[in-house]
Amino acid sequence: MTPALSVRVSTGSPHRAVLATLPNRFRATTLDASIIVIERGGAAAAPALLAGSTAMAFLADPAAFAPDTLDALVAACGGRAMGFALQAATALSNEAVALLSEDGDDLPFIVDCVGETDGADEAALRSALLEQMMLVEAMAGPITDATLLLRDSGQIIVRLDLASGWTGVRITARQARRVRFTLHAVSPTCRRTIEILPDPQAHPARVAVHDRAGTRMAPPLFQGGYRRSWIDFHAAIRGDTPRPVASLTALQRSLAFLAAMLGAPQ
């Protein structure tokens, strides 16, 4: 068995509990390690930290990165695998992704996505927006345009257009009492619904497709997005083919749109 990779992660991080469920793959530590978890406040310093190290980086809050900072980090890692934590897109099981991709012969007229966050600052709203952009990309491919519709202290609403022909996709990040993501995509032949209550470890995404045959649901997989993010990261380290739900390219593209609309992250 390949030894578990050591992960430097703070004691207060929610990723500690996630890593504890993957003991064959990872071992959490506060000392030097093979993998360094970059928390929100460490984004700006991350390129310099990784440049002088042989460690790999795992981004705990990818929305905290400005596009150029992420580019610098990628360069600093010099081809070493890099992981990042998502709660929404990665919570989709392979079966859910397959189900969502069925019957996709007509374009949805309405795509309404909401990301609720219990965070009280704009950084939390920004993270919720990024989660939704990655979720939409996982379903329908690259985002080609993003337009800010509303920005106030409690919510941000953005319109997305995608290369696949999905237009007028609405994503909303909203302060709420909990963290939750929902997506509703409606075409004349198919309604797709997703609800993700992102317990870091084990809450299943509810994915359903409604069409003329009735309603089908993806089998519930009791695995949260963070846990799946770590598994995907481990697969990338091993050189396995990545799942099509959270690519670095999509992350870079989404961060660029966020920066253009909202400015650099604080």
């Binding site: 007229f109 309405i110 609403i157 007028g168 509703h184 075409s187 004349p188 032949t189 198919c190 009735g214």
Partner: protein
């Protein structure tokens, strides 16, 4: 006689699917609170066939109902453009009450004229926005108010397959409705705006009274899309609150009527049953971080609205939506349509 003591007579203006598949089956569940005395349709054959089913008299002239002193309540189920004129005539004839299918009228001036006429005659007016009367919605609304929370986001989502299969579950139409006419060519921009207005008056109107309880002013229209053949996606913001109206029909999936409100600490979600079928109330959930409570009742909104109208006539119980609220609902709807037309994006 009903348990409450009196049976009131109803005259229906219009004998189409709403009368046949919604009101007559609903009234059949309510004992002898109501008697269907007359049914009018411009097609006398249809009126005759429908009237024969409920022991009523068929007529082809609205005046034969409106001017009949034996009729207590006029149920207006005619084309939208006739609603106000018929409501005003019913008031002038001194009717005790009107149950008018939504919308009350197609212009604000008409709505004001109905209000003046009803105020003068003392005629009760109930507009058939059934989800406003849905017992589960009323229970959830009370729970929401008790929470004292502040509204942040309101969303109405209406996704409907063709009506015909549901009509067939509720009745056997005397003359089944054909499919809606297919559109030919691409309508002009003005025609598109007119179509958006029609579909807002036809679909959004169902949930405008619910929406206004949480988001009272249209505010700024941030986005509006008209979806062909019938649908829209509307986003509005007012004083820190955001509201959405989503609707599309016909689709090839099961029906879905939902209405939801998000506050800082409390969420309200209700899924209503399909129209036409007698499937009880919606299923409402009030959620907080301490848990959730659910509401469901055996009666649906149509039954509840007729029951309330009966109690109003018997005891003077206040109607859920007073006249001023009904007129404000229409003003909101037409303002929404006008603002949406101004920022309209058409999606074919």
């Amino acid at each position: 006689m009903s348990a409450m003591g009196q049976s009131f007579s109803i005259g229906f203006l219009g004998a189409g699917p709403v009368t046949q598949a919604i009101h007559l089956p609903t009234l059949a569940t309510l004992g002898d609170d109501w008697r269907v005395a007359k049914i009018m349709d411009i097609d006398l054959e249809v009126a005759t066939l429908v009237a024969a089913r409920c022991g009523a008299q068929a007529v082809a002239d609205a005046a034969a109902i409106i001017e009949d002193p034996a009729i207590d309540v006029v149920a207006i189920c005619s084309p939208n453009g006739l609603h106000a004129e018929q409501a005003i005539a019913a008031c002038a004839a001194g009717k005790r009450a009107i149950l008018c299918e939504k919308p009350l009228s197609v212009t604000v001036d008409e709505a004001h004229a109905v209000r003046r006429a009803a105020t003068k005659s003392g005629t009760a007016v109930l507009v058939g926005t059934m989800h406003l009367h849905d017992p589960a919605f009323r229970a959830a609304l009370a729970a929401w108010k008790a929470s004292g929370d502040t509204v942040r986001h309101v969303k109405s989502a209406i996704f409907l397959p063709p009506n015909a299969p549901f009509v067939r579950l509720a009745t056997e139409e005397v003359r089944p409705s054909g499919p809606p006419p297919a559109s030919s060519g691409t309508p002009s921009p003005d025609a598109q705006r007119a179509m958006l207005r029609q579909v807002i008056l036809g679909l959004a109107i169902h949930h405008v009274p619910l929406m206004r309880l949480f988001h009272s002013k249209v505010g700024t229209l941030l986005a509006a899309r008209r979806l062909s053949p019938a649908g829209f996606s509307l986003l509005m913001a007012d004083r820190g609150r955001v509201a959405e109206f989503l609707a599309f029909m016909p689709g090839q999936w099961p029906p879905s009527w939902t209405f939801e409100v998000a506050g800082a600490h409390t969420d309200l979600h209700i899924a209503f049953p399909p129209s036409y079928v007698q499937a009880g109330s919606g299923r409402a959930t009030i959620s907080t971080n301490d848990g959730a409570s659910s509401h469901f009742f055996p009666l649906n909104g149509y039954q509840a609205q007729w029951q309330q109208l009966h109690r109003h006539l018997m005891t003077g119980e206040a109607l859920t939506a007073p006249l001023d609220a009904i007129v404000a609902d229409l003003e909101f709807t037409l303002e929404l349509a006008d603002k949406a037309a101004a920022v309209l994006e058409i999606v074919e």
